[in-house]
Symmetry: C2
Subunit: 169 residues, 2 copies
């Protein structure tokens, strides 16, 4: 699959939304500029509120957002979207990017290490993916976003699948 978790997908949505809050909200008197609450983000994104809270909690632990407790508290971005590569989000949610057990830091994880002919050979692949993910920031993902009306549903699927050979499954 090479699929990342839904939480990571949610995290990107939440972070982009957090940036869209804008530092100049009209009613930003009591609440700090650019700060939003979990329920507010949930309502804006359509993601279940508990899940949003969970994502924000993890992101706060990863140093991507800052939290403010108490009444009129909330979360705010610590860095602009241009300074947040996708790899950082993935690392914050899913932990360090590691394709196989051979590279995920598992000490002696591979029980057949003495026989395995490709021991540690995933490293270059892993590095290539990390570089690819590190080169794309959330701002890039946001900038590429086009209004929904511009994307036909069918065309969306076709475009999304693209060169991922469709006959394989």
């Amino acid at each position: 699959m090479l699929r990342l978790s839904k939480l990571t997908d949610y995290a990107v949505v939440v972070l982009v939304r957090l940036a869209q809050a804008g530092p100049a909200l009209p009613g930003a008197r009591v609440r700090e500029v650019g700060m939003q609450t979990s329920p507010g983000i949930a309502a804006a994104t359509g993601i279940p509120e508990p899940t949003v809270a969970k994502v924000l909690k993890i992101l706060a632990g990863g140093g991507l957002v800052a939290s403010q407790r108490g009444a009129h508290g909330g979360y705010r971005l610590l860095r602009p979207l241009t300074a947040i590569p996708v790899s950082d989000v993935i690392a914050a949610i899913d932990g360090p990017i590691a394709l196989t057990a051979c590279v995920e830091g598992a000490a002696g994880g591979c029980e057949s290490e003495s026989l395995c002919p490709v021991r540690g050979r995933w490293d270059p692949v892993n590095t290539a993916i990390q570089e690819a993910l590190g080169a794309i920031t959330l701002a890039d993902m946001q900038a590429a976003a086009v209004p929904r009306a511009f994307r036909l549903p069918a065309a969306t699927l076709q475009d999304a699948r693209g060169d991922a050979q469709p006959a394989a499954e």
Copy 2:
């Protein structure tokens, strides 16, 4: 995580082993050249035999190896390692490479599509990863293989983790 399944890891090992069989085995009288059995590969790689059989079965379905049933049957490579990109192996085992539900061809899979600000924005990320994986062949992974003694265990871990911030977990 961005982790691919163990089966994919096994598949690479099996394929490399299948290539190492060599087309000029001494006792290759009854068995076709370059052909190996599941138990043989299992013994050579240390992977459990049923798992090897399962991997080979999937790879045969994916068109990467050919099977020969009956006595003195077995499996053989259909293409040289230089012609097998890593992405093909992953696609054969885990299906098409798709990072998120938004790109995996799920019709209307995203229930909050009207709100999601990054709808379909994983496509460039997905493409970047596919290109990275498509550029690396099994021959590269095999060629990069160095004897185990040349790699310090600690250095291996450091190299593997690399710039994936270690403090994240």
